[in-house]
Amino acid sequence: MMEVRVYSAEELQRVGIENEADVITRPVISYWKGAILRFKKNHIAMFAFGLFVLFLFFTLFGPALSGENYTEIDAANRNIGPNGSFWFGTDQLGRDLFSRIWIGARLSVIVALVCSGIQIVFGSIYGGIMAYFGGKVDAVMMRIIEVVNSFPSLLVTLLIMMVVGKNVIGLLIAMSITSWVGTARIVRGQIMLLRESEYVKASQLLGGGAARIIKKHLLPNTISLLILDLCSSIPDYIFTEASLSFLGMGLGGDIISLGVLISDGKTKMQFYPWQMIFPAVVLVVAVLAFNLIGDGLRDALDPKTVN
């Protein structure tokens, strides 16, 4: 990095505003406040946010609302259609589909959130190390990324599931093992870009220390990218988990997720289509909401889209 001359406080004195035309009359809006304002103006994003809140509400309270037990086998009420007491009908063992769907959605969301968390944390650390050390360390770590990136990701997940076993921990490991690569690249690229940027240099010239630069420049400019990364990875995980369970290679036994329910419903699709349609619709609505919120955030977090 170049030699920087740091100015002292005496040398840097604020010169008064002499001209009235230079006075800032508008209220100063911070970056995050501006982002929230822009997001609120976006009707589609707000609609998606509403869907998301609804989805979250049912995931948390749905099973309690219906008052039906999701594991209780009821031979008298098998394969019945949606009605007053079984809002989404029942499955082949007479279990309430409404409760089962939200219990399954709960697991799908938890898995997606945990995996995204692992991805963001690990990816940021890896990318940060690459950008900080640079040179040979960076080159070696980049080769590792290239090798990981050359695997078709679903294939790796399947292979890892075979090694670790069909349980929630196995699923978390299998889905996280390749996903951090994208995040690491984003963080590396962004930090390298910022380090060379003129406003970071200006901040150094004006005497900003490392803590200030990290807090004021590096973090805010990276966090928005990470939020977008999170928004696109959550639906991906929900997708992947559902595909794995659908193939019979995800979660097994009594564990239910949306994928397991769709897979169960598929076997009787021709006779009782709702058993597949309800879980599929819940899955699609959740993923749709996440995607639309992600789109809205992409516009909102970009300060250049001022309207």
């Binding site: 090798v147 990701s153 294939l155 193939l247 290679m249 597949m276 995607n291």
Partner: protein, 326 residues
Amino acid sequence: MIHYFFLALLSFGVAMKKYVLKRVITAIFTLLAITLILFILMQLMPGSPFNDEKLNESQRAALYAKYGLDKPIVIQFFHYVINMFKGDLGVSYKISKNTPITQLIASRLPISIGVGFAAVSIGALIGLLLGLLAAFKRDTVWDTLATVISVIGVSVPSYVFALALSYQFGFKLDWFPMLFSAKDVLGSSVLPSVSLSMFTMASIARFTRAEMIEVLGSDYMLLAESKGLSGNKIVFAHALRNALIPIITVLAPLVVDLMTGSLVVEKIFSIPGVGSLLVNAIQSNDYNVVIALSFIYSAMYIGIMLVVDILYGVIDPRIRVAKEGD
């Protein structure tokens, strides 16, 4: 003048050759690294391909010896790599005993590639048209419609599409067969190809729209317009060419998504392709088949990435120069 031109061409050729060579060598090393990782993963797999309870210890040992599984792992690995380069992927232990894997794959690969190729073609074409429509008729009903279709396309998993299509057009309306049949390959490939193409279509449409809007707002478009070029000429000579180049880069990962998406879709329509073979092999612990197929998938992936990288370098000289600088 001419002298300079030839000089530029000469240096271009050398730089290009160096770039291609570098990429090919990287690709080969990546593939070797992947083979090693696959091999290690397979050693970690629980269960043995010969877990028939009727087998006693000596019979099992005989089977291990027959397939060379009793040798040290390092030797097994080198043996495997050498055979692979000779085009011999080994034999299946379980699914179809003692059948060479190359033979198993040979009959299945064309089916999977056929369905995949149809899906990419449909998806890319319709996605491109949708994206262009949305960009040129920006902020109109057309734009909203194209956006809605593409958002739905990326939000609905291909197997949900597959199930919905097979229920509506296969079961209810009976327009197309619900299951794949060798007698009616074309008719029974329609539903799987369409359901696989949805994600590609939606992604391409989104990307094309964004790319096109950026190009349409660029300075060189303004210049072309102020030079008095007609609307069509601007679109074809400047806008399309510059917007389409980056689309090549998204097409490659999408093709790979198709390969994995086919696992699910092949299961739904019971297509005798590579995807269903892989699923069977994983479920019955047929290690050799799993390694072989994973190797083929990864090799295809690396191959596609390599072609795209080189193509991109040929089309856009800036990329080549930037990568040289690394």
